[in-house]
């Protein structure tokens, strides 16, 4: 069981399992719409939770367009090495980066992440992509946009806009990665700051 088990903390649930699922369905259709179909699509999930979101999105895209092989368009893009805050954090070992067999050159790459906040993770992701190949277009899809951008970055597809104060924490929990008291859970919560 691939889980991170946390004790419950007082928090406000803003999206439940069904909300998340509906948001992903909408995003999947938006991706197809923006691309005018499924040609050359690649979904790269940013670890940790961007990846299971990418897998779910790929399945929904395949459900809408049967020509698509969901497993073949998904990949994982680790951005650890490209972060701008490496020397200010404890050492972080990198996650694996795996690209689809057909690569990313000339593809329409959609980066997938759970929360968009300062924008620095996406900046690092753009640097990582440049070293891996040359996509034709790069777009961004996130489950939550909580504002407070520090760089000129914006998402093309957003599950929900959540205005927050910077003292609050936004947590996205997905059954692929999270459980509470041993039970897998899908939800988005805002935790009050200290």
């Amino acid at each position: 069981m691939t889980s991170v088990t946390e004790a419950p903390v007082p928090a406000r649930v803003v999206l439940n399992s069904g909300d998340i699922d509906r948001a992903l369905t909408r995003i999947a259709h938006e991706i197809l719409e923006a691309n005018k179909g499924s040609q050359d699509l690649v979904l790269l999930g940013i670890p940790r939770r961007g990846y299971p979101l990418a897998v779910r999105l790929a399945k929904k895209i395949a459900a809408a367009d049967p020509a698509v092989d969901a497993a073949a368009i998904v990949g994982q893009l680790d951005v650890t090495m490209f972060r701008d805050d490496l020397s200010h954090q404890p050492t972080r070992p990198p996650y694996p980066t795996q690209l689809p067999r057909t690569g990313i050159d000339n593809k329409v790459v959609v980066l997938i992440d759970d929360v968009l906040y300062s924008g620095r993770t996406i900046r690092a992701a753009l640097d990582a992509i440049v070293d891996l190949g040359r996509p034709r277009i790069v777009r961004l899809a996130v489950m939550i946009d909580r504002g407070h951008r520090e760089l000129p970055i914006r998402a093309d597809h957003v599950g929900k806009n959540l205005p927050t104060s910077s003292s609050e924490k936004v947590r996205v929990r997905l059954e692929e990665t999270d459980s509470i008291d041993g039970t897998p859970v899908n939800e988005v919560v805002i935790e009050a700051g200290a």
């Binding site: 691939t2 670890p47 940790r48 200010h88 972080r92 070992p93």
Partner: protein, 342 residues
């Protein structure tokens, strides 16, 4: 981890972390842009008191692939001609702003002195000290073995250890830092180690080591081995009576063509032959063995860069607090389920 001085005190968690990070570093070598910006602005000094072009180049390549700046310092002086003292050399490097010092020295314990005193503040990586340890060599050997072992079992290497693997290390154990580092690391990773050598080339006290000892190479092979690691033997040792002649050494403890054939006739079709280099072809290893498909010598060299990248990254990239938890290795395995084979 502040320094990498030995494998004796390297925990299983840290060892696996280095090997897993090295897997990702290896992937970089397959890309068009073989560079990561992670150590941009950091300075790595190669402080070599002993000649070793191949190890130095390996560390240099590793540092450059992480965008670090590299300074090569070939320190003059040896056991016979003293040259500038270790203390003065170290303080000069500190004044030049070294973030990491990769040190190879002919005196056992020199890296430990550098790390223990207040002469420098940099991270210290032991690139081989006397006859004591050579941790990055053991790590690249383990990396090579792990890929092979996991491959045989059809499992991914990431997160894996070497439980159940039978490894024979043969040669001049007494004078070998590679042997020592390998014994500790292989023990930590769960492999079973047998040392094979003439009694004169085994240290007093080897009975306390976490491995078996044998004087008989053929018997060891017959019992079954998954990897045979041959150590370099200096022919001049016969002048100090460690063995009578190179010919007798080679016949009894060398990996010659007979033993290469024995691997086949014993049914050990997957057993690999390893050597840290440089090789004495004809003394401890025959040319046929060195060039056979079982030989991992070139893979070891390639893996050396990846492992050294991992070591440099893990020592230099963060602040000096304890490292964050390893990526949940089972999660990494799930991600691997869509991994295209290279």
């Amino acid at each position: 981890m502040k320094h990498l001085l030995s494998t004796e005190d390297l925990s299983l968690a840290n060892a696996v972390r280095i090997l897993d990070t090295a897997e990702e570093m290896a992937a970089v070598g397959d890309r068009e842009v073989k560079k990561l910006p992670a150590l941009r602005g950091r300075t790595v000094v190669n402080l070599f008191f002993e000649d070793s072009t191949r190890t130095r180049i390996s560390f240099e390549a590793a540092a450059k692939r992480l965008s670090a700046d590299v300074i090569n310092f070939a320190a003059k002086g040896s056991s016979v001609s003293k040259g500038e003292s270790l203390k003065d050399t170290a303080q000069t490097l500190a004044a030049m702003g070294a973030d990491a010092v990769v040190i190879r020295h002919w005196a056992s314990g020199a890296p430990h002195r550098l790390a223990a005193t207040d002469w420098i503040d940099a991270a210290v990586i032991n690139a081989g000290d006397g006859t004591h340890e050579h941790p990055t060599q053991a790590l690249l050997d383990a990396f090579t073995m792990r890929r092979h072992w996991a491959g045989l079992h059809g499992t991914p290497s990431a997160g894996a250890d070497l439980k159940g693997m039978r490894v024979a290390i043969a040669g001049d154990v007494l004078h070998s830092r590679v042997a020592r580092s390998n014994v500790w690391l292989l023990r930590t990773l769960g492999a079973e180690v047998t040392l094979v050598a003439p009694p004169t080339l085994l240290p007093i006290g080897v009975g306390q080591w976490p491995c078996s000892v044998s004087y008989d190479m053929d018997e060891t092979l017959a019992k079954g081995v998954d990897a045979v690691m041959m150590l370099r033997v200096q022919g001049e040792r016969m002048n100090a009576s460690f063995f009578p002649t190179a010919r007798e050494y080679s016949r009894r403890w060398g990996f010659d063509d007979n033993r290469l054939r024995a691997l086949d006739s014993l049914g050990l079709k997957d057993t690999i032959i390893m050597h840290p280099g440089p090789m004495n072809r004809g003394l401890e290893i025959s040319s046929a063995a060195a060039d056979s498909p079982r030989s991992t010598v070139l893979a070891q060299v390639r893996n050396g860069v990846s492992v050294r990248m991992a070591a440099l990254y893990l020592l230099l990239s963060g602040d000096t607090r304890e490292p964050a938890a390893t990526p949940n290795s089972a999660y990494s395995n799930a991600a691997h389920s869509t991994k295209e084979s290279h």
